[in-house]
């Protein structure tokens, strides 16, 4: 019951946050005008701002927010570890290496699309390497996966540092990208996310029940009819896919994937069907609002959205944690 209420509330908040965000920015547009231009787009300035400038960015933020939150929820359940986040499989460092490499090779200057392409390849390839290593080192046990992810991440980060060191003058561009931003958003990105992430999230949502027994430990999961290895690989690959895509289009945004699932669990409990459903909309709304703040903060330069997500979200999370101190043993 609680979970249904939260789901309805989070869907309402989701739509409100989009409408709010469409009207907010360097040019503010009144609520009624936003609604009007949404239904009857015209050729005026407001329509242009809403449909060409803000809408793709907002939708990208929403899709990335949903992807990272769902991925974080899955990783925490799969690894039975409260510290797991979407990047535990090495996606962040893989993407960073890909992005840095695209600049180092000069491809970035030919077309800006090379950066997300390389970042995605880096992220997903890293995931597969981690899966492979943990598979041969210990039949894909969750501890092996975590350790392999950490090991590979550190290894790749060393290469990123090396490339950045050699890159010299373009250091700042990569650094800014690493901090995460939706300033590069375009409709193309939105379409790709819609085609790949939405179905992937839907599959995760449908299969989410199988994560419940996984959260009790391997023996319990087996006993309850879960094909542990298969389920682990499926969730690992699916959530790495949406994380990799998110990182490619918006850089490495922390906090959301780690903490929003915890907040949802504190509110409605750990059952994964409900958790995933609400996480989609809460993660999306949260990212939309955070990005609205980050682009409205200053006219001269935007704040990296990762800074905003953490600065607002962490105090809320810590407050809930103190209130429910038994939440995680």
């Amino acid at each position: 019951m609680k979970s249904r209420i939260l789901l309805v509330i989070s869907i309402i908040i989701f739509f409100l946050s989009i409408i709010f965000s469409l009207g907010t920015g360097a040019v503010s547009i009144p609520f009624t005008t936003v609604l009007n231009r949404l239904i009857n787009p015209g050729n005026d300035v407001n329509s242009l701002i809403i449909w060409q400038l803000r809408m793709p960015r907002i939708l990208l933020a929403a899709l990335v927010g949903a992807s990272l939150t769902v991925s974080g929820a899955v990783m925490q359940g799969l690894f039975r570890n409260p510290l797991a986040d979407p990047y535990v499989t090495g996606t962040a460092s893989g993407a960073a290496l890909g992005a840095t490499l695209s600049m180092f090779l000069g491809l970035f200057y030919l077309s800006i699309f090379f950066l997300p392409l390389f970042a995605f390849i880096g992220a997903f390839a890293t995931t597969l390497v981690v899966l492979f290593i943990s598979g041969i080192s210990g039949s894909a046990k969750s501890e092996n996966m975590l350790l392999a992810g950490i090991g590979v991440s550190i290894f790749l980060s060393a290469f990123v540092s090396l490339l950045l060191y050699l890159l010299g003058k373009d250091l700042l561009t990569v650094f800014y990208w690493l901090m995460g931003s939706f300033s590069g958003a375009s409709w193309v990105y939105v379409y790709i996310m819609l085609i790949v992430s939405v179905p992937t999230i839907a599959i995760i949502g449908v299969m989410a029940m199988d994560l419940d027994p996984m959260m009790l430990g391997e023996d319990h999961a087996y006993s309850l009819g879960i094909d542990v290895k298969k389920i682990r690989i499926i969730f690992f690959v699916l959530s790495s896919l949406i994380t990799g895509l998110s990182v490619a289009f918006s850089g490495i945004i922390g906090f959301v994937g780690l903490v929003i699932p915890h907040i949802v669990r504190i509110l409605i409990g750990p059952k994964n069907r409900h958790l995933i459903a609400s996480s989609i909309f809460i993660g999306a709304s949260y990212m939309v609002i955070a990005d609205t703040i980050s682009r409205s903060f200053s006219i001269i330069m935007e704040l990296p959205v990762g800074i905003v997500t953490s600065m607002i979200g962490v105090p809320v999370f810590l407050f809930l944690l103190v209130k429910q101190r038994n939440y995680w043993r």
């Binding site: 359940g77 039975r80 409260p82 449908v206 299969m207 029940m209 199988d210 419940d212 027994p213 959260m215 009790l216 430990g217 391997e218 023996d219 319990h220 087996y222 006993s223 309850l224 009819g225 879960i226 094909d227 669990r265 409990g269 750990p270 059952k271 038994n326 939440y327 995680w328 043993r329």
Partner: protein
């Protein structure tokens, strides 16, 4: 009808042989207890028969069919496992956890039916955990946790229950409570395979006993035939005095004091 038939199975962890040629059958309406010192392979045996681990040699047949021919979900509808412990980490309620016993029966697009809820409710009632249904699994005692796990196995509605030391870490009151519960389940015609530490409790409640040592069955049969001064000495390496009733039934084993 034979529910489980195990023949000459072997299993090793690395180069260490844990199970070294074990064979036995399990019939409906019996409690087959496995006794043996720590490290004798009891838990590994449960995991092999439950399909958590894969045997290296030999055959395991569940209801006449090779265990490897079953999908996990199919197997979970015939065999339930009650692991010795549970460290949930997450804040599931007792009811959430018992309800997971129904998961092998529902597909990705299904929800619980009225019948599922009824089975969950009855399982909690039978094990006396109904009043805890909304409590977090982390707030309940060891005895309550065991009863909850048995409730989950009941909700799973399987003909075979495998229980790994359900009574260790419990004081004597709860041991009796849990074993009475298991005896009640046996009377419904289900087959139960159980590992235990306490020889005296095992004699009292198991219909058959198997003494295992170093991955082999030392002897198997009715408790009165299996337990004697010699077998206890061979398996546990201690000298014990066995007290019998007037009719020859074993009442108690007292380990001899060494110093």
């Amino acid at each position: 009808m034979i529910l489980i038939s195990v023949r000459d199975i072997e299993f090793s962890y690395g180069s260490k042989k844990i199970i070294d040629g074990i064979s036995f059958d399990l019939m409906p309406g019996e409690i087959l207890g496995f006794l043996g010192p720590n490290g004798s392979g009891k838990t590994t045996l449960i995991k092999l028969v439950g399909g958590i681990l894969k045997k290296e040699r030999g055959t395991i047949r569940i209801k006449g069919r090779d265990i490897e021919k079953y999908s996990r979900r199919e197997l979970a509808r015939i065999v339930s496992i009650v692991p010795s412990d549970l460290e949930p980490g997450f804040d599931f309620t007792v009811q959430d956890l018992v309800a997971m016993g129904r998961y092998p029966y529902i597909g990705f697009f299904d929800s619980f039916t009225q019948r599922d809820y009824e089975i969950i409710r009855r399982s909690m009632e039978a094990t006396g955990v109904s009043h805890l249904s909304m409590n977090s699994v982390r707030e309940i005692s060891g005895g309550e946790k065991q009863r909850m796990l048995i409730a989950r196995a009941l909700a799973q509605d399987t003909e075979i229950l495998l229980m790994d030391e359900p009574t260790s870490n419990l004081d004597i009151k709860y041991q009796v409570e849990i074993l009475e519960l298991i005896e009640g389940i046996r009377r419904t015609g289900r087959a139960i395979m159980i590992t235990m530490h306490d020889v005296n409790m095992a004699i009292r409640y198991c219909t058959r006993l198997a003494l295992i040592s170093k991955g082999k069955i030392y002897s198997i049969g009715p408790p009165d035939n299996v337990i004697n001064e010699n077998s206890i000495n061979m398996v546990y390496g201690i000298n014990g005095k066995i007290i019998r009733n007037g009719d020859g039934k074993i009442v108690y084993i007292i380990p001899e004091k060494i110093q």
